[in-house]
């Protein structure tokens, strides 16, 4: 019944009291070991425990997409999963997309197309778009709109968001 076992050894645990659990994640390529309460969402773990505040808390109910991150390369709402349930997985946030001092092509395209106004939804939009590109299911602008519908932009920058994503999807270089 050791608490540690709850997060590390699936076979042998039941955590009796709501004490802290050890959660190991790889976040943006760095291995992290955190002591978290069971009810800490992945979003709160990223923001409050790893100080990665690029990932935004919008609705906290899986409706707005501001908290979108990639887990093992797939986009999810980080507000709707417990950090302890992501034990051992690789998490990529907006802070992890740039490589060697160069912005990710989606980041460049969002700037080029002015694909934001207030910017609050932007980290989620870009992480979601990175997931969309990896899925390879969208071919047309209509399909991009449909498969990006989990990301709300209250400033209404959708037109430019779609243009930015289409540019990267089609491999257009500026």
């Amino acid at each position: 019944m050791a608490q540690i076992a709850a997060a590390s050894r699936p076979k042998s645990n039941t955590s009796a009291a709501p004490e802290k659990l050890t959660v190991r994640l790889t976040v943006n390529g760095e291995r992290q070991e955190l002591q978290l309460r069971a009810w800490t969402t992945l979003l709160d773990a990223l923001r409050d425990h790893l100080d990665l505040t690029g990932t935004k808390k919008g609705c906290d109910h899986g409706q707005c997409g501001a908290c979108t991150v990639l887990v093992d390369g797939r986009r999810i709402n980080s507000c709707m999963t417990l950090a302890v349930m992501q034990e051992g997985r690789e998490v990529t946030t907006i802070e992890g997309l740039a490589k060697d001092g160069r912005l990710h092509p989606l980041q460049e395209a969002f700037i080029e197309h002015d694909a934001f106004q207030c910017g609050y939804c932007t980290p989620g939009q870009i992480c979601s778009a990175a997931g969309l590109l990896a899925e390879g299911k969208a071919k047309t602008a209509d399909e991009v709109r449909e498969l990006m519908s989990g990301n709300i932009c209250r400033c209404g920058a959708y037109k430019n968001i779609v243009a930015a994503i289409m540019q990267v999807m089609n491999g257009d270089r500026t």
Binding site: A6, A7, P10, K11, S12, N13, T14, S15, A16, A17, P18, L21, R37, A38, W39, T41, D60, H61, G62, G65, T68, R74, R75, I76, N77, M80, T81, L82, V84, M85, S128, G131, L132, E135, K137, T140, D142, E143, R145, E146, L147, M148, S149, G150, N151
Partner: protein
């Protein structure tokens, strides 16, 4: 969020045993609905049993030509699975009509069946709700009930089941495999969810500590003549006002076998064998589709704000059957209804 204890199950027997020993425990898989309800204080489990490590995440051909879908297969993986795309495209279409890609990446097959209604009074703990608190009363009966049921409702509850996937599974005559303290059993999909009656707090016929292990599809997939037509207040990422899964087996211009399931109109995916019987062996004409729609909706009842659903459903059924007969399913990304 509320506080709770957490256990991670390594095998199904453990999960079932732990749940049986702790009536206030709940299983968690994708968590996309349960955690939401916990944040709203609607669900208050004392313990979450994490079942995501159980070996229930494969899609396999079943003996006899069907398909067996593990309860933990994520919605996206199922929708894009080659065997689903080839043989059961109505299922993929229905799945991709619901939620967002982020949520579909998280949500499990079994969890989709067990999601709770999105009735706003169920979510709002400041208002009476018989589903949340039996005997408290139903706020929707005379409240804002635009989203609510027109078929099979009761004085106790007029909530709808929110799933799109389940509408297709009902049309396909799926089977739900479950395991509980007294072993394994199978439940026909149309018997899995319940009508509200006097016990709206019970959404399904799943017993205490029972866990869904798989969904099985029979061989017949209606891959040529099908559609999933979903009508909602936004063009994407919204629950259905009315949805229709239509699947036909055609012999020229004649319907050999018809399946019609409705979403957004009842406490469970709605099927009516008497309406399907009206289509079987008949010509695929608008007049016959209208007769089937009349039969499906013969007991429909509005509660004020949702009166429009009766006419909307009638037209949606006719349109969906027309699309299915033509072999032109409604594409998810195409917002013009063809």
């Amino acid at each position: 969020m509320i506080n709770f204890a957490y256990s991670r199950a390594g095998d199904i027997a453990d999960a079932v045993r732990w749940a049986a020993g702790d009536p206030r425990a709940k299983f968690i898989a994708g968590g996309t609905n349960l955690l939401d309800l916990m944040k709203e204080n609607v669900e208050r489990p004392a313990r979450l049993i994490d079942i995501t490590h159980l070996p229930l995440n494969t899609v396999e051909e079943a003996p006899g030509g069907g398909l067996k879908i593990g309860a933990l297969v994520p919605n996206t993986d199922l929708a894009y699975h080659p065997l689903v795309e080839q043989r059961y495209p109505v299922l993929g279409l229905a799945i991709l009509s619901g939620a967002s890609q982020q949520l579909r990446n998280m949500a499990s097959t079994g969890g989709n069946l067990l999601q709770r209604t999105r009735c706003m009074y169920f979510y709002d703990t400041a208002t009476p709700c018989n589903k949340r608190e039996p005997g408290a009363g139903c706020s929707a009966l005379e409240g804002i009930n635009k989203q609510h049921a027109i078929l099979g409702a009761s004085e106790a509850c007029i909530a709808t089941h929110p799933s799109d996937m389940c509408v297709a599974l009902a049309a396909l005559d799926a089977t739900v495999h479950v395991r509980g303290p007294s072993g394994e059993r199978s439940i026909a999909f149309t018997d899995f969810h319940r009508l509200p009656g006097k016990t709206p707090e019970r959404d399904t016929n799943l017993g205490p500590a029972e866990i869904i292990t798989a969904i099985e599809l029979p061989p017949k997939g209606f891959a040529r003549h099908y559609t999933y037509l979903k009508l909602r207040e936004r063009l994407s990422y919204a629950f259905a006002l009315v949805s229709v899964a239509a699947a036909l087996e055609m012999d020229g211009e004649t319907v050999r076998e018809a399946r019609v399931a409705l979403g957004g109109v009842a406490h469970k995916p709605w099927r009516d064998p008497s309406a399907e019987a009206l289509l079987n062996g008949r010509a695929a004409t608008e007049a016959n589709f209208e007769k089937a729609a009349e039969m499906l909706l013969r007991d429909a009842k509005g509660y004020g704000h949702n009166d429009f659903k009766i006419a909307l459903a009638r037209q949606a059924i006719v349109r969906a059957l027309t699309q299915a007969a033509r072999g032109t399913p409604q594409p998810v990304a195409d917002k013009k209804i063809r």
